[in-house]
């Protein structure tokens, strides 16, 4: 558990300062040991700095409003020199203490190797996740097993992005021409939201993703499912949708394993129906949102690289049904 260390008493004083900082993407709503360590660091810094700030402001108020005796002599000057010197010394000690605290946190956060490796590639404006050992890729949804360290290798296909899941860990940039890495570990099962944290162009705002931490059994089941090719079309409507997809420009950019669609510019859609959201966290995956996104991507996400592919209303419904079926 994260609470292993307990929250130090002074940290409790800071709690009123951090009201309601919870939420689906909050660095204070902790889901793993790294984020727990960082929350402790944030709270400790806030408390210490807050006390220092209150002291400075109180002294300023006192200096302005104090009752003044007649005349100030050499004695006052000497006292002031002492007071200022001691305050500077105290500043130096506090700063040294905070630096040490920071170093200790860096050490205990470590990094190092993970038990599992996943490759994350930042793209304008979506996330490509590759599971090299199982040999498949997915988009905008990362699954990790609870309690195990996952090393994420971070790359970029175009500009600089930054990989950030506040509830699990701090952020790390994805820089073209370089490889960086980050380790993730979730202590409890859950759905954690992440978002790009480095300005990357028009749709930087809509570049979210989900991390799903689940128990080992569900994780293995998910891996097996994702490694399979797309399931064959079961109904007439789905078959029609697949035909439309393969005949239209869709297949030029997207891959659906098990079909002739092998484009690589956009996300792999082999199991898009199993993902919680589409368009990098923009919309929940339903037949309706799939149809809406296909029908008018530029209104939903202005500037997205997904073009508008003209379809009749029947074709649009068929494609949406087909995509939804790709569990």
């Amino acid at each position: 558990m994260i609470a292993r260390r307990g929250v130090p008493l002074p940290a409790l004083l800071a709690l009123p300062l951090l009201p309601g900082c919870t939420g689906m993407q909050s660095s204070l709503d902790v889901g793993g040991p790294a984020a727990g360590e960082l929350r402790l660091l944030i709270v400790s810094f806030t408390v210490i700095c807050g006390i220092v700030w209150l002291l400075v402001v109180a002294t300023l108020g006192w200096a302005l409003l104090r009752r003044r005796p007649a005349g100030t002599g050499a004695r006052t000057q000497r006292q002031l020199t002492w007071a200022v010197s001691l305050s500077v010394a105290a500043t130096a000690i506090i700063v040294a203490g905070l630096t040490t605290l920071s170093f200790l946190a860096t050490r205990s956060l470590g990094g190092g190797d993970g038990e599992i490796e996943v490759v994350a590639v930042g793209q304008q404006w979506w996330w490509q996740f590759l599971y090299p050992r199982e040999g498949f890729q997915t988009a905008n949804e990362l699954h990790i097993p609870v309690g195990r360290t996952v090393r994420i290798r971070l790359e970029s296909a175009d500009v600089i992005h930054s990989f950030w899941v506040p509830s699990l860990s701090g952020k790390m940039d994805m820089i073209p021409g370089r490889t960086t890495a980050l380790t993730l570990k979730a202590e409890r099962p859950g759905v954690y939201r992440g978002q790009c944290a480095e300005f990357c162009g028009l749709q930087h705002s809509h570049m979210g993703f989900t991390v799903i931490a689940e128990d080992d059994v569900s994780y293995r089941k998910w891996l097996t499912g994702q490694a399979q090719p797309a399931r064959p079309a079961a109904t007439e409507e789905i078959r029609a949708g697949q035909a439309v997809f393969l005949a239209k420009p869709c297949a030029a950019c997207h891959t659906i394993r098990g079909t002739t669609a092998v484009g690589t510019a956009g996300p792999d859609l082999t199991h898009i129906g199993s993902r919680r959201s589409i368009a990098a966290g923009l919309l929940e995956t339903t037949r309706g949102t799939l149809a809406a996104w296909t029908a008018d991507p530029q209104t939903l996400k202005p500037g997205t690289t997904m073009p508008l592919v003209p379809l009749t209303s029947i074709e649009l419904r068929q494609v949406a049904v087909y995509l939804e079926s790709l569990k």
Binding site: M24, C49, T106, L154, I160, K171, F199, H204
Partner: protein
């Protein structure tokens, strides 16, 4: 009184100010130094006060424009998934906001206050290299117009004020937007470097006799350190923006990783400039604070020497911090830890200054006039910003808050709280010197209340938004993120802040037209700029003052000793020694000239057309050369024969 003996280095048969009556002397000094009220006079003046005023007014216009952009952003962010502004326009707006505030407002306005005040505070008649000063203003104005005309034409830069590659490179930002940003940098840095060189020369060589290094007003020290920072930091960004332009226009590959370039090289160069930049803005502000506090505390500043040492230490340390903007780029841990320590250590000189100010107030009898109110608001706000600065200096902590609204809150606390509050204090304090008229004390209190409350209402909640995961530079956010309520509160508070600024500008303009007359020294302040009339005459001082203490107007009472012997029919200055300010020589000061204006126009045309064709550098240099020849043509001064 003195001076005559030392300063007269050459026989000169023309009259000096000791040979004629006071009235006659003033008349002839005015004839020598005044700027004619004609269009040619306006374009050719080299008077540091006129150029300083112009520079400040222009910078404040950019502040208003940048502030309106901020309001536009707050409108868009007031509600989730709002559609007032689309992503393309929004990216232009936040890029313009940052670039305008940093390059067209904060740095220029601080330098401009220096241009106006430094010669007055050190008791000389004009700034060194006054024609370069005129050139600097026109270049600055051209750069600002270039940026804003582009924005109006919907080709404003949209890659952030930091223009990270490869997003700002040729592949991901086709068109001219990023080129305009990079060339605007060239303009503003050229202007800033010119002023920095002038200020260094002025401060080191033109101080009034007797103003030894330990008697220089703290604001002047701050401008000296700032000028050195500019001279050392700005070349990095000029190299960065020039190589970016080369990548974009000529096909070099400095920043293209596919061809052996490096995306992080840009960040190193940018922040090697970018962090000192913060102190280039902040140090003049603390200089203002150190000047205003003694006046309203009614006693000399406590700890002059530690304050000056703190300024210098901050200046030196500021070059060792840049990597703390890059803690999430995966640099080696050991190197990052060094930058944590260096970033935190800057809290020590900052602490020295804050404690010295509080000690001055404690020992004095503070009068809470508007300038001091803003100074107190500054301490309250800046210390809080400093605390969050300590937080972002920690590598692990920074990985959570970097590029979130927490950082937006942090740097607005240190930039608005740390620099703009002192600047407003400075306007209330020195506008009477500039215009000769007082601002309203009653309105000043309302302005302070609105700005102070509006500021904290706007920026304090952003700390929470950042911790709640809201990244910077997003044009919108989804309703389920739960950031809507705080954002709405922030946007409403921004209106209060804007109302405060509106009232401030109304008061400033009203007072400059019809405020009560100020007289030479309305605050009973100790420094030399208050020894001359308000507004000062074109020649600044009837006779050059002689300084015998750090607070000349307090220690000498009504009768300031003066030095005579300068020519009154020709522009002449007193040059003094660097350390002790012993008079060394009389030096001609350049007369008005239209050539700096034409040189600036020729340079602007060269720089702007070079965005469209590299050949502009070749052909454009011809008019630049012609104007420079006109500028430097021998003027028939005594120095020419020497």
């Amino acid at each position: 009184m003195t001076g005559n003996r030392n300063a007269r280095t050459r026989e000169d048969d023309r009259p000096s100010d000791t040979d004629v009556s006071d009235a006659e002397g003033e008349r002839r000094l005015l004839a020598t130094w005044a700027t004619p009220r004609t269009l040619k006079g306006v374009l050719s003046t080299v008077d540091h006060k006129i150029i300083g005023r112009r520079y400040i007014a222009t910078a404040f216009v950019f502040l208003i424009l940048g502030g309106l952009l901020a309001l536009a952003m707050r409108l868009q962010l007031a509600a989730p998934e709002a559609r007032f502004i689309g992503p393309d326009r929004y990216n232009q707006i936040f890029t313009m906001h940052g670039s305008t505030m940093m390059f067209l407002f904060a740095v220029p306005v601080m330098e401009a206050v220096g241009v106006f005040l430094v010669p007055l505070m050190i008791g000389t008649r004009n700034i060194a290299f006054p024609r370069l000063n005129a050139f600097s203003y026109w270049i600055f104005l051209s750069g600002g117009i270039l940026l804003w005309v582009s924005f109006a034409l919907d080709v404003g830069p949209d890659v952030g004020w930091f223009a990270y590659v490869p997003l700002a490179g040729p592949e991901f930002s086709p068109g001219k937007r990023a080129d305009i940003w990079a060339q605007m940098i060239t303009f503003t840095e050229l202007a800033a470097l010119a002023v920095a060189v002038e200020l260094v020369a002025t401060i080191l060589k033109q101080r009034a006799p007797g103003m030894s290094l330990d008697r220089i007003p703290v604001f002047v020290w701050a401008m000296l350190v700032t000028s050195f920072l500019i001279i050392m930091a700005m070349p990095a960004i000029m190299i960065a923006s020039s190589t970016l332009i080369l990548d974009r226009l000529v096909g070099t590959q400095f920043y293209n990783p596919a061809e052996g370039g490096d995306a992080l090289l840009w960040q190193h160069l940018f922040w090697f400039f970018g962090h000192p930049e913060v102190y280039i803005i902040f140090l003049p502000a603390v200089g203002m604070v150190s000047t205003i506090i003694p006046t309203f505390a009614g006693r000399p500043i406590f700890g002059y020497l530690p304050l000056v040492m703190a300024l210098i230490a901050t200046g030196i340390l500021s070059f060792g911090l840049w990597v703390h903007h890059m803690f999430t780029t995966g640099l080696p841990r050991l190197g990052e830890s060094f930058f944590t320590a260096s970033s935190m250590s800057i809290a020590i000189p900052a602490g020295v200054q804050i404690f010295c100010w509080i000690a001055t107030l404690w020992a004095g009898r503070p009068q809470l006039k508007t300038p001091l109110l803003f100074v107190c608001g500054f301490i309250f706000t800046f210390v809080l910003g400093g605390m969050t600065g300590v937080m972002v200096a920690s590598v692990p902590l920074d990985t959570q808050v970097h590029d979130t609204y927490f950082v937006v809150a942090h740097f607005h606390y240190v930039l608005i709280g740390g620099a703009l509050f002192p600047l407003i204090a400075a306007v209330y304090y020195w506008l009477p010197k500039v215009s000769g008229r007082m601002m309203s004390e009653r309105l000043g209190r309302i302005v302070f209340a609105l700005i102070f409350l509006g500021f904290h209402g706007t920026f304090f909640p952003m700390h929470f938004l950042g911790l709640m995961g809201m990244p910077r530079r997003v044009y919108t956010y989804q309703p389920e993120m739960g950031w809507g309520g705080l954002n709405l509160f922030v946007s409403l508070s921004a209106l209060v802040l804007a109302a405060g600024f509106l009232l401030f500008f109304i008061d400033a303009i009203r007072s400059a037209r019809s405020g009560p007359l100020a007289g030479p020294n309305p605050w009973n302040a100790p420094t030399l700029e208050w020894a001359t009339s308000s507004p000062p005459p074109a020649y600044n001082f009837r006779r050059i003052p002689v300084v015998t203490s750090a607070n000349p107007l307090w220690d000498n009472g009504e009768t300031l000793p003066v030095a005579g012997g300068l020519n009154i029919d020709r522009r002449e200055l007193l040059v003094s020694s660097v350390v002790e300010a012993l008079p060394e020589a009389r030096e001609s000061s350049p007369t008005d000239s239209i050539w700096p204006f034409w040189a600036a126009m020729a340079t602007s045309i060269l720089l702007i057309t070079s965005i469209f064709t590299p050949w502009a550098v070749v052909w454009g240099s011809i008019p630049v050369a012609i104007t420079l020849i006109g500028w430097f043509w021998p003027k028939g001064e005594p120095e020419d024969e020497a």
